[in-house]
């Protein structure tokens, strides 16, 4: 087993290399199956469905021939799950509840599914203020309504004080893969020249939350970009014929998602630093603390790979949506340096963007 540690460390949950090793060494080893191996944001489940066509009794009394005509076919359902343990539970732009709904809705959306139903499980620390719980639950209801999804089942557990940090939420979600959307899920169709697109500015969630959590005393108007992207994604899929890949760049940021993608193709990726949309607030905080916006978490962003000819059209479509006003083409797939992601810097140089190793740390050096 590659994992060298004898204890779980915080880095095991950071979305970086150590976590991926844990997943492959432990979870995949014991759970492994064809569907799990997809390792997408959602599992795509083939469900064989037989539906009865109403109102046309065939008159048959045969034991083998059905009385009512039936249609049989394959339906694909997307299924995903996510747990939310964020600290602080309230932050500028949202709270743990809003995040729990948006995170799962987005995982379904970027798989090409129409999100339909969510479950919501709560693990609550004894003594947690009822008022805060109500605020969070109300927030979840509001987001679910905006996204057009129903929370249909759930669970509540209360643990002794000190046994969990205030509140943990798990949401699982089901969506229907819409054949008419024509989402091409095959990574193998991506080729050099294809464009990398994002719907807005990098790093807002991660920096807003960090600033709220730490005692650094910076006063910034920064807010988390936490939002449900299903309608934006649907508009893109309805207006485009060759979206080949979508992922929401959460923990680890755009750089990590690009590395994951590059690792799945025989090609490389080039991003263009001057084209990356970065807000003033994120820029300032990153310069102050020594962070790189490419590695900071986003909760209202989707990275799309699409055919060369479609890029501009997709940007125009997204710009019409309030969640895509700063959409931009930020890079493209290249023949060179297969498996690697390279950044063309603002100063005309080049550098490699490696995968994230652990949470970025503020530095003074």
């Amino acid at each position: 087993m590659k994992t060298r540690e004898d204890k779980i460390l915080l880095s095991h949950g950071n979305g970086g290399r150590i976590m991926h090793d844990l997943i492959s060494d432990l979870f995949m080893k014991y759970f492994g199956n064809r569907i799990l191996e997809q390792q997408g944001d959602s599992a795509i489940l083939p469900v064989y469905v037989t539906t009865v066509v109403a109102g046309q009794h065939s008159g048959s009394r045969s034991k083998t021939k059905p009385a009512f005509p039936e249609k049989s076919g394959l339906v694909e359902i997307a299924f995903t799950t996510d747990s939310f343990v964020i600290d602080p539970i309230f932050f500028p732009g949202g709270d743990i509840g809003k995040l729990a709904v948006c995170g799962t809705v987005n995982d379904l959306s970027v798989s090409g599914a129409v999100p339909l139903y969510l479950s919501a499980s709560f693990i609550i620390e004894e003594g947690f203020p009822m008022k805060d719980l109500e605020t969070i639950v109300r927030s979840m209801a509001s987001e679910a309504k905006k996204a057009g999804v129903l929370i249909v089942t759930g669970d509540t557990k209360v643990v002794n004080k000190g046994k969990c940090d205030k509140l943990f939420i798990n949401t699982s979600g089901i969506g229907k893969i819409d054949n008419a959307a024509r989402l091409d899920r095959k990574i193998s169709s991506i080729k050099p020249g294809d464009l990398i697109i994002i719907n807005g500015a990098l790093g807002e969630h991660g920096m807003a939350v960090m600033n709220a959590r730490e005692s650094f005393n910076f006063k910034t108007p920064l807010k988390s970009d936490c939002a449900c992207l299903n309608y934006l994604v649907r508009e893109v899929l309805d207006n485009s014929s060759s979206v080949k890949f979508m992922r929401d760049p959460t923990r680890g940021g755009v750089a990590t998602v690009m590395n994951e993608l590059a690792g799945m193709m025989p090609y490389g990726i080039e991003l263009s630093e001057p084209d990356l949309p970065v807000g003033k607030g994120v820029r300032a905080m990153c310069e102050l603390l020594g962070f790189d916006p490419l590695y900071i978490a986003n909760e209202g962003k989707v990275v799309i790979v699409a055919g060369e000819k479609e890029g501009e059209r997709i940007v125009e479509v997204m710009k019409k949506n309030k969640l895509g006003k700063q959409s931009a083409i930020i890079g493209h797939v290249v023949k060179d340096h297969p498996g690697k992601v390279v950044l063309n810097t603002e100063t005309g140089g080049k550098r490699i963007l490696a995968s994230l190793s652990g949470d970025p740390l503020p530095r003074i050096c």
Partner: protein, 75 residues
């Protein structure tokens, strides 16, 4: 020991100054420098102003650089 960022002084309050970096505000300590006034730029390092930025020197540096680079910013 290097990560210091230019920040604009918005308000001096005793041995602290409210400074602006982009659109982010911070209450910086002035324990290490004197004669700071509103509108000055200081170098902010780990919560302290460690030196002022000399606007005239900055302009002169830019002028020299543009000369060397044969670069006319007006063109």
């Amino acid at each position: 020991m290097c990560l210091a960022i230019p920040a604009k002084v918005i308000q001096v309050k005793g041995s602290n100054a409210l400074v602006l970096i982009g659109d982010t505000e911070y209450n910086a300590s002035l324990l290490l420098i004197d004669d700071v006034k509103e509108g000055d730029f200081i170098m902010l390092h780990a919560g302290f102003a460690i030196q002022k930025v000399d606007e005239e020197e900055a302009i002169e540096t830019m002028r020299l650089l543009n000369e060397v680079a044969g670069y006319d910013p007006e063109s």
